[in-house]
């Protein structure tokens, strides 16, 4: 293995997808940000260099105006900015940006606002300016007369002044850095403003002090907000609140953390009716929807905050790598383009190389390093790396010491590095908004174009890159729509509410419906959730005496005992960690093949710690299987408690792929564009010659999928019969489709053996002659792909689906049915008390409409099973199936066929797998 960049050591743990696992914002996840003055400088002085104030006049940016709610700032800075602030800006040769002034104006109008601005536009300062201005004015008034102190409101004691602004960040580190960076303008302007952070790391003594003597500005995370709201003194703490600033809102609202935050907001609106919100977001497809998140929803109607859109960013320059090499048919490594990627790094000052998964990052980094004859400073950055290692990379990057960083979505958020001049995106872009945000990482000066090169790793990805470039040119956004709030998150919140002041159901229901994601919550769902929180929500009423929350004579709900409160506080949050195992490198026990035999031979304990890996991945391995970890190919030896022992393997390619495609499937929008591109032969001119030839050949031997149809091909190959279809709906929906089709083919006695799915296609194979059966009418393709597969077949599959069980487990944890962390002594993770899979089985049989199963089902619609998308596709292609009977594999089918053996094969029934293992015993017995 090649050496690493000095001082930058790799400690990696695979995650099935780095996109999902980086969990931006979890209290345990650290990110670095560049000090905020640099952001201020970037956005205020176009040619600011190394802190030297520019003497040239700064270009003023205009807000692009989308009437009627999007603001045209007519006000002059003088009218909005107190003199002290104007002097401060002027002393640095800066002038405030139009959108910064726009937010001040919104504040003056007492309106909530959503600021949509690209990276580097001074978003954060814009969000804080109203607070700083208001507090400086207030302080002046305070000095003039009124003195700070405690006043009795009859019911409780309140402080004059008190908490003014709450800032919520998805990243703990972002909150910490922003606190640090706010100190400078505050100190330089001599503002009497106290700023503090509150995260999981804040010492207990300071937390207590913060509650008694709150700072003016508190910077924290959604989880900490939930904790503060669940305390008795929340009314005292929050009643003075004037302003809340929500950073990276576009990222927060796509997950259950956004649900939790929305419920916290709803509570704040009740505790502090005068509070106004400022949301800071990257560009999204539906700004109006996002703006609803920021204001209370009046019953039956929709309300939204005003929207301010910062304009002025130059459109990015994006191109596709025109490779000299042969384009691979399949795979995600982009190994063919390595020398060209290396040349790009060499030709630019600093390049960010984005990949979609952790294992891709590991592979690419390893390969680049092995060809690094020029000794370029190239580093690796992904979410499974140890925090200290990531900090080192980030510091080296900030100091301008790195030429290239291979990274995952771990750098999608938070970091704002000034000197990146090129972004390289390897593999599928997946979505146009995601890609634009990544490319924005190279945007160190707002009025200069970001530069990006897309490197498709295979032929299908060429199509995806092509349409993504077109989409960017049109500035077409494809961020997902606002979520419908999860019932599991609601259950957690209801318990949190009961931990604070007792509540009446009617009041809480009204409050919750003011949160945009829960605006349509039915009373039935709400009551079921409250019943669940109280005594489990079971039709069999046997747990009343064990209730966690109880009603008093007035009907107010409160926690039954202090242990419930303690348990809530230990389990707050919506991020469910995968079970991780430690990976240690030991010497192989030999035996060459590593042929099974868990305990034959002795493994030396200890061994160097390589990192952590998901338990779920290891469970799929047999001893002797090889996979890539921490930049090398290793052999799985054995599992002892929570330690995985691996040895160094000498295979060039791992036997078991750990590429899992990333959490995010190809966006519906890009999929549609890919279908249109394929259907329109004239548009092929924009594709590389190799790809044009490939598509032309497909046209000759079969046909190219038409935009509104589903192409199904069948052909024999090596004693098996294949059926390949091309829905272009992403891997998750395709996996579900493959499962359901396999069940149906089994019923049709086509004897299916397995299937494989990628982002674009599904291939199923079996022993039955599928072509003949289709010709013969024994298989009716329209019936096979009928949307009714989402009925009974889906039900039958959900009963046993491991993905569904995982979804249920997450809901059970978030809802508080089972605890992540127990009060009292910590159980070791091997002492499993009960299995949620068994609970799922029993609950499904005995109360199929239980609220937790409903929550899991809602998740399955958009999550791991992507049922909604599958349903839309089946409806779209119903009655529009084109079948081609071929005598051999078609050019278009080659990529997905090559995935067989690379991607995990699904669809084998449990009994077949077990029977295979049983046969080995038979062979052994028979000699």
């Amino acid at each position: 293995m090649p050496g690493l960049v000095p001082g930058i050591h790799v400690l990696g743990a695979p995650s099935e997808d780095v996109d999902g696992r980086d969990k931006p914002g979890h209290d345990d996840v650290e990110k670095i940000v560049v000090p905020m003055y640099e952001r201020i400088r970037d956005c205020s002085a176009a040619d600011g260099e190394g802190g030297t104030p520019s003497t040239k006049p700064s270009p003023r940016l205009t807000c692009s105006c989308v009437p009627p709610r999007i603001l045209q700032t007519s006000a002059q800075p003088a009218a909005l900015l107190p003199r002290r602030f104007q002097q401060w800006f002027a002393a640095r040769g800066w002038s405030p940006r139009a959108h910064q002034l726009a937010l001040l104006e919104k504040a003056r109008e007492d309106a909530s606002a959503l600021l949509i601005a690209p990276t580097g536009a001074g978003k954060t300062l814009a969000g804080f300016l109203p607070t700083l201005v208001e507090l400086s004015t207030e302080a002046a008034e305070r000095n003039a007369g009124a003195k700070q102190g405690l006043v009795s409101t009859g019911r409780s004691v309140q402080r004059t002044g008190g908490l003014h602004t709450l800032y919520i960040s998805p990243l703990k580190a972002l909150a910490v850095d922003i606190a640090r960076n706010l100190e400078r303008p505050i100190a330089e302007m001599g503002l009497p403003i106290k700023v503090e952070t509150r995260t999981g790391d804040t010492p207990v003594s300071r937390r207590q002090r913060q509650r008694r003597y709150p700072p003016d500005v508190l910077l924290t995370t959604p989880e900490q907000l939930a904790l503060l709201l669940s305390s008795d003194d929340a009314p005292f703490l929050f009643s003075s609140l004037k302003r809340i600033v929500l950073d990276e809102l576009h990222a927060l609202v796509t997950s259950k953390r956004g649900d939790l935050l929305s419920l916290g907001l709803a509570r704040l609106w009740r505790l502090a009716p005068r509070m106004r919100a400022i949301g800071l977001s990257a560009t999204v497809a539906e700004p109006d929807q996002l703006a609803r998140f920021l204001v209370p929803q009046p019953g039956g109607k929709q309300a939204a905050a005003d929207i301010v859109i910062a304009g002025g960013a130059a459109p990015p320059e994006v191109e596709m790598l025109d490779t000299r090499e042969r384009l691979p048919w399949a795979g995600h490594s982009a190994r063919h383009a390595l020398p060209e990627i290396y040349e790009l790094i060499k030709a630019n000052r600093t390049t960010l190389v984005f990949v979609n998964t952790r294992s891709q990052a590991e592979m690419l980094f390893q390969n680049l390093w092995s060809m690094n004859d020029d000794g370029l400073a190239i580093a690796l950055h992904h979410g499974s790396l140890d925090v200290a290692q990531r900090r080192k990379v980030e510091d080296a990057m900030s100091a301008g010491r790195l030429r290239g960083v291979v990274c995952t979505s771990s750098l999608d958020l938070g970091v704002d590095w000034g000197d990146v001049d090129l972004v390289v995106n390897i593999g599928a872009p997946k979505g146009s908004s995601r890609l634009m945000q990544r490319i924005g990482r190279a945007n160190h000066r707002l009025d200069e174009a970001s530069r990006a090169v897309l490197v498709p790793a295979n032929r299908f990805e060429v199509l995806e890159c092509r349409v993504a470039i077109d989409a960017i040119a049109e500035n077409a956004q494809d961020t997902p729509p606002l979520r419908t709030g999860g019932l599991d998150v609601l259950a957690q919140h209801v318990l949190g509410c009961a931990c604070g002041e007792p509540f009446l159901s009617d009041d809480l229901y009204a409050e919750i419906r003011s949160a945009a994601p829960y605006a349509d919550l039915s009373r039935q769902d709400f009551d079921d959730v409250v019943d669940f929180v109280a005594s489990g929500g079971y039709a069999l009423k046997t747990y009343e005496r064990f209730a966690r929350i109880k009603q008093d004579k007035e009907g107010r709900w409160r926690v039954a005992n202090p242990k419930v409160r303690q348990s809530y506080r230990m389990n707050v949050g919506t991020i469910v960690e995968d079970d991780m195992l430690k990976v240690r490198l030991v010497r192989s026990r030999g035996g060459g093949q590593g042929k099974a035999g868990g305990s034959t031979g002795v493994i030396a304990r200890g061994g160097r710690l390589l990192g952590e890996i998901e338990e779920a991945f290891i469970e799929g391995l047999s001893p002797g299987d090889t996979f890539v970890f921490s930049g090398e190919v290793v052999r799985y030896e054995t599992l002892v408690e929570d330690q995985v022992y691996v040895s160094r393997a000498h295979d060039k390619d791992p036997k078991v792929p750990s590429y899992m495609g990333g959490k995010f499937p190809l966006s519906t929008y890009l999929a549609e564009r890919v279908r249109r591109l394929l259907d329109d032969g004239r548009a092929w001119g924009g594709l590389p010659e190799q790809v044009r030839d490939w598509l032309s050949l497909q046209k000759d031997v079969s046909q190219v999928p038409a935009v509104r149809e589903l192409l199904v091909e069948s052909f024999p190959r090596a004693n098996k019969h294949y059926l390949v279809c091309y829905p272009f709906e992403g891997r998750l929906a395709h996996q579900t489709l493959g499962m359901l089709l396999t069940r149906r083919l089994e019923r049709a006695r086509a004897r299916p053996l397995g299937f494989v799915a990628n982002e674009y296609a599904v291939a199923i194979w079996g022993l039955g002659d599928l072509s003949f059966m289709i010709r013969d009418g024994r298989i009716d393709l329209n019936a096979l792909f009928d949307p009714d597969m989402l009925g009974d077949d889906l039900e039958a599959w959900l009963a046993e689906s491991a993905l569904m069980k995982r979804t249920f487990r997450n809901c059970a944890i978030i809802s508080g049915l089972i605890a992540r962390r127990h009060t009292g002594e910590e159980k070791t993770r091997r002492q499993v008390l009960f299995s949620t899979d068994l609970v799922y089985d029993v609950l499904r049989k005995h109360q199929a409409d239980h609220v937790l199963l409903r929550a899991a089902r809602a998740d399955a619609a958009t999550g791991l099973l992507d049922l909604r998308r599958l349903g839309d596709m089946l409806a779209r292609i119903h009655g529009r199936i084109t079948h081609r009977e071929l005598d051999r594999v078609s050019p278009l089918a080659v990529p997905v066929m090559l995935e067989i053996g690379r991607e995990s094969v699904y669809g084998e029934a449990a009994d077949e797998l077990l029977a295979e293992a049983a046969n080995e015993l038979v062979k052994e017995a028979m000699g």
């Binding site: 747990y543 469970e619 391995l621 029993v842 049989k845 109360q847 699904y906 077990l914 046969n919 028979m926």
Partner: protein, 236 residues
Amino acid sequence: MTVGAQVSGDVDDMRVSRVTISDVSFTADLSGALFWEEQRLLVVSDLHLEKGSSFATRGVLLPPYDTIATLGRLAAVISRHDPRIVIALGDSFHDRTAHQRLSSDDRDAVTALQTGRDWIWISGNHDPMLPRDLGGTVADEVAIGPITFRHEPSGARGEIAGHLHPKARVSARGRSMERRCFVSDGMRAVMPAFGAYAGGLSIRDAAFAKIFPTNGFVAHLLGDRRVHAIAASRCS
């Protein structure tokens, strides 16, 4: 393919597998029960009745349907084999007061199962003090011919025990399957847990090495439609 069927199951009934212990042949039922035809004796282990409500007393409100589910499966296997004797091999109740939480319906269901046959409750570590009013006989262990039935395995020859809740995982090509299983080496056996909420312990755990002196034991995994006999060394 057919070879596997002959060894791992009855040709007539693929649902079961044969387990021989000290020259006595038992049928390993897909449900997790063991049947001794000659004696018409059915054994089930670790029912853990009322485990759900046991957790509920501590604030973890697991669905209260585990007892119904377990007794329903027990009724099915009893009606399939119509045994003369039923042995519940210990840990039939999840805790010492679990029998008091049985609903009257569930209590009636137990009584109905006991009707017309001998019923033996072997006491386990979870239920060491079984009351007399549950019907049937309470015992610490039972010996019939060369076979001894007790809750905690000692490794003695001819012993059929429970307690450990064996499960085994079989992996192939990046995919894996974990199931409850019987474990046997021809001299002794450990039964899978029968209870709906009973978890499992991997047969690779050291606890099994203490009972099965050689590595050559076999796990009889409960599949979806049949029981599969798989070498323990093939499992993880």
